[in-house]
Every structure is written in C-alpha cells, then in structure tokens.
C-alpha cells in the first residue's frame, strides 16, 4: 500500500469495503500492538486491545476525515481502548478476593537458573511491573505515552482527550508514585 493509494483505500473502506479495510489492518496492526503492549504491559491484554480497536475503527470509519492521517486516528483509539482495558483489569482485581497480582509473562523473566545478576534483573523487572500496576489507568496511560512512546504533553492531551494540566498532572503523579515504590531498589 503506497501513500498515493491510501486516500482511495480509505474511501473504499468508509463505504464498507472490507477488502480495503483489510489493507489498513495489515499495515497498522504491528504499531498498534506495540502501543497496546507498552500501555497495558501484558501480551494478552495488548492483543485484545488491538482487536477491539480495529473493530471500533471500522465501526466509526464514517467519522474519520480522509484528509487526516489514519495511523494517528487509530493510535488514539488504541490508547483509549488500552485505558479501558487497564480500568477493567483493575476493577476485576478489586472484585476478586485475595487475587494475587499475576506477574505478566512479558515483564517477568522465567525462573531458569542463571547468574546472580540475571536474578537481580528479574527482581527489578518484577518490582517495576508491580509499581506500574499500582498506577491509576490514566496515570499509567499518560506515563506510557510520555516515557515509552516519547510523546510530548501536547500529544498526550490530543491522544487521551485531556487538558494540558490534566495530562501533566497524570505524568507527575505517575513519576511520584514510581519514586516511592522503587525507592528501595534505587538506594540498594
């Protein structure tokens, strides 16, 4: 799919042509997965977010202006679906009595025997994952966009549909919580 072909493909997809939409899915899914994983920190959740986002994008294609960039539009949908996913995941955990926080496969090293350093690194990853898991959905989303995705505060505002102050405060709160949670590691 070349840049010149994109407007025509988008027009066809907006008219309900599923073959045209397939081309868009094929070209944007990997980027969507990367973002979804960075925001949720969990492979299965990221897969679900990508799937949900693509279905949502197809449903709302009529609202998309063909002059705009489809990738940017989809990026916002993925980010917001990821926030919803984190929110529902946290709600689920609150409702399950004594449900331990399951370490995600991707962020935790396997328990294979190895050098001490590997074990330390694994411990750091687990602690970081737990600290990230303690952030609110909005803090986690804003932090992931700022820290992992390198998005500016202004871009975070547009992506998550927030005011400048709310976006900044979400990043600040996230960093402050991480500082408290990771203090022991930092000083050791």
């Amino acid at each position: 799919m070349t840049a010149q072909e994109v407007p025509a493909i988008l027009t066809r997809a907006r008219q309900g042509d599923s073959d045209a939409f397939r081309l868009l899915v094929e070209s944007h899914s990997r980027t969507a997965f990367r973002l979804a994983f960075r925001m949720t920190g969990n492979e299965q959740d990221a897969e679900d977010v990508v799937q949900e986002s693509l279905l949502k994008a197809y449903r709302h294609l009529g609202r998309f202006e063909t002059r705009a960039d489809f990738g940017t539009w989809l990026y916002r949908i993925v980010a917001n679906c990821a926030v919803d996913m984190i929110r529902s995941r946290q709600a689920r955990r609150k409702h399950i009595w004594a449900d331990p926080v399951e370490p995600s496969e991707s962020t935790h090293a396997s328990e294979q025997p190895g050098p001490e350093r590997l074990a330390e690194s694994s411990e750091v990853k687990r602690r970081v994952a737990d600290a990230l898991g303690g952030l609110s959905p909005l803090e986690r989303a804003a932090f992931a966009l700022r820290h992992y995705e390198g998005r500016s505060i202004e871009e975070i505002c547009r992506t998550l549909n927030l005011g400048t102050s709310a976006a900044k405060q979400a990043v600040f709160r996230a960093v402050k919580k991480l500082r408290v949670e990771l203090e022991e590691l930092r000083t050791s």
Binding site: F33, R38, Q51
Partner: protein
C-alpha cells in the same frame, strides 16, 4: 535561591521544561535540586524500556483473520442523512401522493351513498398499492447503496413489506450471493426465511451455500436448510462436508446438517 519543584524537574527530564539552560545552571549550583533530579533520573532509568514481544510481518494478516467475521455495521454520520437525496425524494413523493388523495377525496363528485362508498374503497386500494410500490422502491434503493449500513437497513426493511414482489426476493438473493459485507449477507438469510417455500429461494440459497466463502454465512445457511427441512440441499451439504479446503467448523456443521435432515 529559589528551588525547582519536582514537577519542573520531571518536565526537565523529558525535555519539556521552559528555560532549560537556567535549570541546567541551577542544578550545577544547587545540591538539593541536583539530588532530587538525580533521584528522578534514577527512578526513570530503573523503569527503563519495556521489551515488546516481537510481531512479524504476518501479524497484520493474522489480526485480519481474527476480526474479519466480526466486523460491525459502520456508523453513519449525521450529515449522510442530509445528503441522501433519494430518500427525501421518495418521502416527498409519498407525501404528495397522500395529499393529492386527500384533496381528491374532498372534491370527488358524490352521486349516491352506495357508489360513494365503492369509490372510496377503490381510492383506498389505489393508495395502498401506491404506498406498497413506494416501500418496495425504497427497499430496493437502499439495498443498492454503497454503505453497508444502508444496505442492512434495506434488507431489514424488506420484512415490513406485505407480500413483496419478485423484485424484492430477487434482490435479497442477489445480495446474499454477492454482497461484500458478511452482516448484510446474514441479514439476507433472516429476511429470506419467510419465502423459504418459493422455488427460486430454495435454488438461490442452495447455490449461495455452494458459492459462499464466508464461514459465518455458510453456517447460517446450513442452519437455514435444517430449519426449513430442505432436503434438496443434500448435495451441497455433502460437498461442503468433504471439501478439505473448507473451514473445519463449516465442515462439521455440514455433517450435522446432513444428520438433521436424515440424509
């Protein structure tokens, strides 16, 4: 000396603080601020970057295979309604017809009570006929639209027409065979149920079962054949159940269909 806040230092770390040079100078001269900044930088270095699991080039295609049968109907933006002139034209024509009939009824000569009743009944029948035609035209027009949502409305609208003509049934069969959207095809199967006794519908649905490549449509058609007890579908069901290129779930359903029809 005025110290920088934690928030300002976080912004500085991410390169978003205004007057960056001044902060740099300040950090070199102020020990408490330099300590606070080092602390923030160490925390964020610990968080580091996430190792994102690799997804190869086939991932897009895999994702498409996962969602292709679940594509929802597309939302129609509000302005589309304004631009759909044909709907307004048809609605306008129907309104004009109603008005004309009303005015004609007022000024129609009234020779006698009996003939007046007969005349009114005849007018009413004419009016019903016209409305019926209008409804059919509207349904056919919607089924030919580019938007899948509009076509879906057309297919659903056919259920509201009493005794629709061959044109409507033909259009439903044509849509079942050729529409690019799975949901529209599935709606067609539902809409065709009330015509299952017609020969052309039996032939058309069996042909669609043989030609469709959408598993969801194939399964819905098999269920339709079982529901309507259409034993004429035996060959098509056998072919499906024996074709190794056909989706496994569809093959299984075809075997089930043959058993249900006791073939």
């Amino acid at each position: 000396m005025t110290h920088y806040t934690e928030d300002e230092l976080i912004l500085y770390h991410y390169g978003e603080a205004p007057r960056r040079d001044r902060i740099e100078e300040h950090l070199q001269a102020c020990a408490p601020c330099a300590t606070a900044y080092r602390d923030i930088a160490r925390t964020l270095a610990l968080v580091g970057d996430l190792e994102v699991p690799e997804r190869d080039e086939r991932y897009g295609l895999e994702m498409w295979q996962r969602i292709r049968h679940d594509l929802p109907p597309q939302d129609v933006p509000w302005f589309t309604g304004l631009m759909a002139w044909h709907r307004f034209a048809l609605a306008g024509a129907a309104a004009m017809l109603l008005l004309a009939s009303f005015v004609a009824g007022l000024y129609w000569p009234r020779p006698g009570a009996a003939s007046q009743d007969a005349q009114q009944a005849s007018n009413l029948n004419d009016l019903r006929g016209e409305l019926h035609q209008m409804r059919e035209m509207l349904t056919l027009s919607l089924m030919q639209q580019q938007s899948a949502t509009e076509r879906l409305r057309g297919v659903s609208g056919s259920a509201q027409i009493d005794q629709p003509g061959n044109q409507i049934v033909g259009a439903l069969l044509d849509t079942l065979m050729h529409d690019s959207n799975v949901n529209v095809r599935l709606a067609c199967i539902d809409a065709l149920r009330r015509f299952s006794g017609q020969d052309q519908v039996r032939r058309g649905t069996i042909q669609a079962l043989g030609e469709s490549s959408f598993p969801l449509v194939q399964i819905a058609l098999i269920d339709y054949m079982v529901e309507t007890k259409d034993k004429g579908a035996a060959d098509a069901l056998r072919r499906l159940s024996e074709d190794s290129m056909v989706n496994e779930a569809v093959r299984g359903r075809a075997v089930w269909g043959l058993q249900q029809l006791q073939l």
